[in-house]
């Protein structure tokens, strides 16, 4: 037993070490990865009183069309019944109560339901029991790693070691994948945050001259496969992204012939539906000529619910801020677009505050087909704003080359200007007054994609025009834009 002042430095060192370790863990944002046939997305989770909670409405919103009503401490959740068109399934929760009624059945929760900032939080531990009767689908929940697979969405990968001189390791996936790849020394780490990849089997030594071991782990919503070798390793995509071939990295040469069977890894095109920003894919050092995957990039729409956090935007009423209206409208627009089979990413899906540079950076990394910024203000008309650049640039920009940050929009200005009337036309069909004009609006100038801002009039009752009408009209305009783009190709 340690006693006396002589041991204090030891305890102090241990305490500081534990504190540092703990702070390191706390700084990593805890999240839940959800994989479903409708969408793959990531949600933040909260640790309250030793229990991990998740917002049930935020979880269901991309999967169904949930409705959540609150009366006092009682919360009533309703989702459409996938088995009976026109009917819905109900669930009842009470703030501070650990009993829930889902589809008429009592479910005991591991901790009481909680109400926080207008959100209904439920213990993550019970999420499988709640979702199964609500969505009537298969639910597989890896609770320790917080990975939730719905409707049989898990995709099992197969690892094949092809022994030879030199050996190669082939990773086969049921569908194309887009992992973040990180090479450190002789180790190659593939992190699957967006892909519902699971690897069944034993991790451990591979007993090969080149490949020494493989290790599969799941943690914080991400599956990670670590391959260690006796020399630097190189990963290449093959079979349209369904296979990743890992081999020894060749020694640097002045020139090397491109390999037609496999392409070396480049920052991959944007994924389908991912509310959280994609991690940067690192390219292992390789002299092989780089070529992007052959498949065209998916048609992704990035929606920017303007303002957020401490930036409330315009005050519609003393209790109603622009930031809340834009977020609600953005979520509605996401549903409308997803219903039309268009991939969507929201720059913020909560009350977070993003700088204009962050918004532009996140958008440009995703290389979207369109960027739509949503605003609201007291008024009577819908305003559709195209980007105006503060300086006149005489040179024509090549979209594929490096673009100056402050005027990246220049290369897409013509497309942005052409997009605005499409949206106006679609909104106009609903007999809503509209104006189109250019504006020096942040962050449109730095967006490297066709971009517009839509400002919706609001009054003390909320939006002057029903949210579904506006969102529906924008979604229809996007569908037309997409069709035109396809025809142009």
């Amino acid at each position: 037993m340690f006693t006396g002042g002589a041991c204090n430095p030891v305890w102090a060192t241990v305490a500081i070490t534990l504190l540092l370790l703990n702070s390191g863990t706390a700084s990593e944002r805890q999240r839940l990865a959800v994989y479903a046939p409708q969408a793959n997305f990531v949600l933040p989770v909260s640790e309250i009183g030793g229990t991990t909670y998740v917002g049930i409405f935020e979880l269901l919103e991309p999967l169904s069309a949930p409705e959540l009503k609150v009366v006092g401490t009682q919360w009533k959740l309703r989702v459409p019944d996938s088995g009976n068109a026109g009917k819905s399934i109900e669930a009842d929760f009470e703030d501070g109560n650990a009993t829930a009624i889902v589809r008429g059945q009592k479910i005991l929760l591991s901790a009481p339901a909680r109400h926080e900032n207008g959100r209904l939080l439920l213990p993550l531990h019970n999420i499988g029991n709640i979702l199964k009767p609500l969505l009537q689908t298969e639910v597989v929940f890896h609770e320790a790693s917080r990975r939730l697979f719905l409707g049989g969405s898990a995709e099992e990968a197969i690892i094949e070691l092809r022994r030879g001189e030199p050996s190669t390791l082939a990773l086969h996936f049921p569908a194309a994948v887009n992992p973040a790849i990180n090479q450190e020394g002789n180790t190659l780490k593939l992190s699957f945050a967006k892909d519902p990849v699971v690897i069944v089997g034993q991790s451990g030594p591979l007993n090969d001259k080149l490949f020494t071991s493989e290790d599969y782990t799941e943690s914080n919503g991400t599956a990670t496969l670590t391959i260690s070798g006796s020399a630097p390793l190189l990963a290449s995509f093959a079979a349209g992204g369904k296979t990743i071939v890992v081999s020894g990295a060749p020694a640097p040469q002045p020139t090397a012939p491109p390999n037609p069977a496999a392409t070396s890894i480049m920052p991959a095109p944007p994924g389908t539906t991912k509310p959280e920003n994609a991690p940067t894919t690192l390219q292992p050092p390789s002299p092989v000529a780089a070529a992007p995957p052959a498949a065209p990039p998916p048609f992704l729409i990035v929606i920017d619910p303007a303002h957020g956090g401490s930036d409330s935007g315009a005050r519609i009423t003393p209790t109603m801020a622009e930031k809340d209206i834009t977020l609600s409208l953005a979520r509605r627009l996401r549903r409308e677009l997803q219903a039309r089979h268009i991939a969507v990413d929201l720059l913020r899906d909560d009350d977070s505050n993003l700088s204009f540079d962050d918004r532009a950076l996140k958008t440009n990394l995703e290389r979207p087909a369109l960027f739509i910024s949503l605003h609201a203000e007291p008024g009577r008309e819908v305003g559709i704003y195209t980007p105006a650049l503060p300086v006149a640039l005489s040179t024509t920009m090549d979209k594929k080359s490096f673009l100056p940050w402050q005027t990246a929009q220049q290369a897409f200005l013509a497309q942005s200007t052409a997009l605005a009337p499409r949206i106006a036309e679609s909104i106009g069909q609903r007999e809503i007054p509209i104006q189109i004009r250019p504006a020096f609006l942040e962050p449109l100038q730095s967006i490297a994609a066709p971009a517009v801002a839509v400002e919706v009039p609001a009054n003390r009752h909320g939006l002057r025009i029903p949210e579904d009408q506006i969102a529906g009209a924008i979604a229809e305009a996007v569908v037309v834009w997409k069709a035109d783009r396809g025809a142009a190709r």
Binding site: A306, H307, D311, G313, A314, R315, E322, S355, F356, H375, E377, P378, G379, G383, Y385, A388, L389, P390, V391, A392, Q406, Q435, R437, P438, A439, F440, L441, E442, Q445, A453, E455
Partner: protein, 196 residues
């Protein structure tokens, strides 16, 4: 019955009390106004030495979503920076007064204008202007367009205008319009022309 002379005395006394009351009230108000003036730390503008000239203001009309030119007479100093400041101050006075076609908050003002090589104007607006500025894409854009267009109409040699708030760079005017960039006067002129 009260004798007549006492009635007259009481009436005179009442009149004297009433008159004194009014006098004391006016004296009190006057003292308060003096104290308020003494407590006002805002710098007082130096009298402008110059001649009265006609200047053109690009006035924004929020209701109609248009710009209209307005010619007003103003006393302008000869020195370019002071002249530029006075032109913008005249414009802002139009917006601060009521009724206003494009309302700006009371106390909105231009701190100073710096001219660099005669081609770049750095306009330093005061904090009150942004604190009280309505938030919205169009209203914020109209403020920028109006300031820059008015300046360039009256000082045609200007090519760029950069706006600071209390001497510091700021991202946006009130959450929307970009203040990080320096604006080309020709780009702004084209935009205003389209809105006239």
């Amino acid at each position: 019955m009260i004798p007549r002379h006492i009635q007259i005395t009481i009436a005179l006394l009442l009149v004297a009390v009433f008159t004194s009351g009014i006098y004391i009230l006016r004296l009190h108000r006057g003292t308060q106004e003096s104290l308020r003036r003494a407590a006002d730390a805002r710098p007082v503008d130096a009298p402008i030495a110059g001649r009265s000239q006609n200047i053109t203001l690009a006035i924004a009309y929020d209701e109609d979503g248009v710009f209209r030119d307005k010619t007003v007479a103003a006393v302008l100093p000869d020195e370019s920076s002071a002249r530029a400041r006075e032109i913008l101050q005249t414009l802002i006075a139009q917006y601060v007064s009521k009724p206003s076609p494009h309302p700006l908050g009371e106390g909105s003002a231009v701190n100073s204008v710096f001219l660099v090589n005669g081609k770049l104007a750095v306009v330093d607006l005061n904090q009150a202007l942004v604190d009280e500025h309505p938030s919205g894409i169009m209203v914020e854009d109209f403020t920028l367009l109006s300031l820059i267009e008015t300046l360039s109409q009256n000082m045609p040699q200007l090519e760029q205008v950069k706006i600071l708030i209390d001497g510091k760079e700021r991202e946006t005017l009130a959450g929307h319009a970009d203040l990080k960039s320096a604006y080309s006067t020709s780009v702004v002129h084209q935009m205003v022309e389209r809105l006239q």
